[in-house]
């Protein structure tokens, strides 16, 4: 493959963790909750995948299963805090991130072997894979890459075409009215937070699979980039794919710049910081993008809710 092809091929692989996290965040925000703890959930997902691989004879599928389980647990805890107890979502999320960093770093010493890694199998799509030029780049990826695109379409369908999407839009824009109309605001938000955390944790599992093993604090802001991706994509699941690809390629640059020639002289630290700088630029471009009105504000039902 030519360097440019490698760049995009790698960019697509690196896109996937952020894509899963951003799709999860999209579902959560569309129900009126801001999950700043996304970084921590992703880190716990990556750690759980590493533990699963470690105790599952190196099978990444067991890792994925454990990661999904950890996503459910994180989702339940965060849903209780954000929704049931009505704690401040930003502050709680930041504290959850510190907790996740501390827990995974402490436990990794004991339960994870740094060298143990495992990857999702690659799948060359028959026929499409041999298209010259783009076949190798687009259709010779690991299975989670294809899964992420399918899930993006499902999330689009869920948020735009189903009763769940309609109800959660009401809950995220004007929960009091949604309640008057007979919706259970809390129950909808519980479901959204747990579902979103599962997707985020799967992103963490792919992050682990992409790398050579679990490293403390490995997410390195990818969860926060996912927060920005959702804003940039204006809560549209298909735009999320495009925005995630942009950041995936930006992250891939640091590995491929030396082969691209014209970027060879740029210091590596600038390239590592590039995705973060790009987020700031993206935020400026996305300035018309408006959060759903009730995002970040805890909701107290007027009557006692089960």
């Amino acid at each position: 493959m030519s360097p440019v092809q490698t760049l995009f091929s790698l960019g697509i692989a690196l896109m996937v963790p952020m894509l899963f996290a951003a799709l999860g965040e999209l579902i959560i925000e569309k129900a009126g909750v801001l999950n700043v703890g996304i970084e921590g959930v992703m880190l716990i997902g990556a750690f759980s995948a590493a533990v699963g691989v470690n105790y599952g004879n190196g099978s990444i599928w067991i890792g994925l299963l454990i990661a999904i389980g950890s996503g459910i647990v994180c989702g339940i805890i965060l849903a209780l805090l954000y929704v049931r107890l009505g704690t401040d979502q930003i502050v709680t999320g930041i504290m959850f991130n510190i907790l996740a960093f501390g827990l995974t770093t402490t436990l990794a010493v004991k339960y994870v072997h740094a060298s143990q890694s495992s990857q999702f199998p690659d799948w060359d799509i028959p026929g499409l894979h041999s298209i010259p030029g783009i076949g190798d780049v687009l259709f010779s990826q690991d299975v989670l890459v294809y899964a992420s695109i399918v899930i993006a379409a499902l999330v689009w369908y869920l948020t735009r075409q189903t009763w769940f999407g309609l109800y959660s839009r009401a809950v995220s824009e004007y929960p009091r009215a949604a309640e008057s109309a007979g919706l259970n605001v809390w129950r909808l938000r519980y479901v959204a937070v747990i579902l979103g955390c599962v997707l985020t944790a799967v992103g963490g599992a792919e992050l682990f699979a992409n790398s050579g093993g679990f490293v403390a604090g490995y997410t390195n802001g990818r969860g926060f980039i996912a927060l920005a991706i959702v804003v940039l994509a204006r809560w549209n699941a298909f735009y999320v794919v495009a925005a995630a690809l942009l950041f995936g390629v930006a992250q891939a640059l640091q590995f491929e710049a030396d082969k691209l020639g014209f970027l060879g002289d740029v210091p590596s630290h600038v390239l590592i910081a590039l995705p973060y700088i790009l987020v700031l630029v993206a935020v400026v471009f996305a300035r018309g993008s408006r959060y759903p009105a009730a995002v970040g504000i805890p909701f107290r039902p007027t009557r006692s809710s089960t």
Binding site: V36, L81, L85, T87, D88, I90, V91, T92, I94, M95, F96, N97, I98, L99, F101, G102, L103, T105, T106, V109, E173, Y174, P175, R176, A177, N220, G221, F224, I225, L227, A228, V231, P267, H269, I272, A273, Y276, I277, V279, L280, V283, V284, R287, Y291, A293, A294, I297, P298
Partner: protein, 288 residues
């Protein structure tokens, strides 16, 4: 001395939080302050009096932190960008700058640090034989200044008013954008102070990895437990410093990682949040 860092980063969070502006980038503002402290200290003229050079560096570091804080502040004020995202991104950029300083700009060679700052720029010890340097009184003064600003000036009143209800504040002729810019600059300056105290009063160089890590984030916990009151930040910081130092001691005796302290801190604050001992007020979502 850990407490003095936490006082400064606690203030960095508390002042914007008072205006319901979430400056969660204290970590980055501290790193950038430390980065600039190193850079300037290595290039100051050699003959400068120790007191003067320390003063220059502390002020420069505070300005640097303020500049770093201004970016999310201005983006918030002008285009209403989510300050959580922008201040976190500035953090990652600052940490990468720090890493660059360590292995590219001012490397020390074998050990994973930047070059040490010259002796005439170090903060002197207050009592010989202890590790307590002038960084501690500086942090205490900062807390008192912050208290005076918040509760005794018009600016402090505006900050609190915006925090309680931005709409009402705007209708009374206050500029919410101005408050965003000023609080982020002030917060950044205090975080920058933490950076210079770390370099000049504690370590003498910028090390890679954990020693400086997470003080900015822990400052958020400190500020929350102090209920965002500048003076209460002092005992709160001492408490958390005790936890951190205690967990270091625990590591020595039981072989547990130092990150245990962070788990305790985070759990503690989450429990306080869960039991509504730390609360915030929210406007009811209105129909548009």
């Amino acid at each position: 001395m850990t407490a003095s860092l936490l006082i400064a980063t606690g203030l960095a969070a508390a002042i914007p939080f008072r205006a319901q502006l979430w400056n969660v980038g204290g970590e980055g503002q501290m790193w950038f302050g430390a980065f600039c402290t190193i850079g300037i200290a290595l290039n100051l003229p050699k003959g400068l009096a120790p007191g003067l050079s320390v003063a220059i560096l502390v002020i420069a570091s505070m300005v640097a932190g303020a500049v770093w804080g201004l970016v999310p502040g201005i983006l918030k004020a002008t285009i209403n960008a989510n300050e959580v995202i922008t201040s976190l991104m500035m953090t990652f950029i600052a940490i990468e700058l720090g890493n660059w300083a360590i292995d590219g700009i001012w490397p020390q060679g074998a050990s994973n640090e930047t070059m040490s700052v010259p002796a005439n720029t170090l903060m002197p010890n207050i009592w010989s034989g202890t590790l307590v340097t002038w960084g501690l009184p500086l942090a205490l003064i900062a807390a008192i200044v912050a208290w005076a600003v918040m509760s005794r000036t018009k600016l402090g009143f505006e900050i609190r008013a915006v925090g309680l209800n931005p709409q009402t504040a705007r209708m009374n002729g206050m500029s919410v954008g101005k408050v965003a810019i000023v609080t982020f600059a002030l917060g950044g300056a205090f975080a920058g102070l933490a950076g210079s105290i770390f370099i000049l009063g504690i370590n003498g160089a910028l090390p890679a990895g954990f020693p400086l890590n997470n003080f900015g984030y822990l400052g958020i916990a400190v500020a929350l437990v102090a209920r965002l009151s500048p003076l209460w930040i002092i005992p709160s910081a001492v408490l958390f410093a005790g936890l951190r130092v205690g967990s270091d001691g625990l590591q020595a005796s039981t072989g547990l990682s130092t990150t245990v302290g962070q788990i305790l801190v985070a759990l503690f604050v989450i429990l306080l949040l869960a039991f509504r001992l730390i609360r915030f007020s929210y406007p009811e979502v209105a129909s548009r």
